[in-house]
Symmetry: C2
Subunit: 108 residues, 2 copies
């Protein structure tokens, strides 16, 4: 990203995409988020959530842990250290973007 | 979006998508942004920029104005009042999301 390019060019699409940003935020809060909880919180189908989890896992930002709660299969999602860093970088870039928008109050 | 759903579910994909968010931010700053300027600022191909401009125009968030600068055809992009409102709502939701992330500092 060269100096004169806009801060938005520094946003990582893997992190910034609306659903994935929600997954990372909830995993950050919960430290360990269960698949079903993520699905209801983000109002998603299981297939849609799985698709986004695969993208985040392939990027090394989350880890998936399969297990059981009683007799029922469960999947838990945790942030990797790289996931924490990526979320912090996204927050930093969003703040820069917001500051830029707010230093140009609507001129109309 | 029900109360217990995550703030990220309130984000509007038309606005939140990385390139489109950049277009709206620059149009907000510049009040009237020229196609070529947007293209270099956002490091895009003309085709990719046009695709995103069509999505924003169809959503009523921007207006496209065709004209000439000397003998060369030009296109200018301006935010509509609805575009200003949509950008302000995106900023409000991003701030809520950031506040939520930052009130859960990394617990590791």
């Amino acid at each position: 990203m060269t100096a004169e390019q806009h801060p938005v060019t520094g946003l990582d699409e893997v992190v910034h995409q609306r659903v994935r940003l929600g997954i990372l935020t909830i995993a950050h809060e919960a430290r360990r988020a269960e698949f079903g909880y993520l699905r209801t919180q983000l109002d998603l189908t299981a297939g849609n959530l799985s698709k986004h989890l695969s993208v985040l896992e392939a990027a090394g930002l989350i880890e998936l842990e399969k297990g059981y709660a009683g007799k029922r299969g469960r999947t838990w999602i945790t942030l990797t250290p790289a996931g924490d860093v990526a979320l912090a970088e996204e927050v930093g870039r969003l703040k820069a973007l917001i500051a830029r928008i707010e230093t140009n109050p609507e001129a109309r």
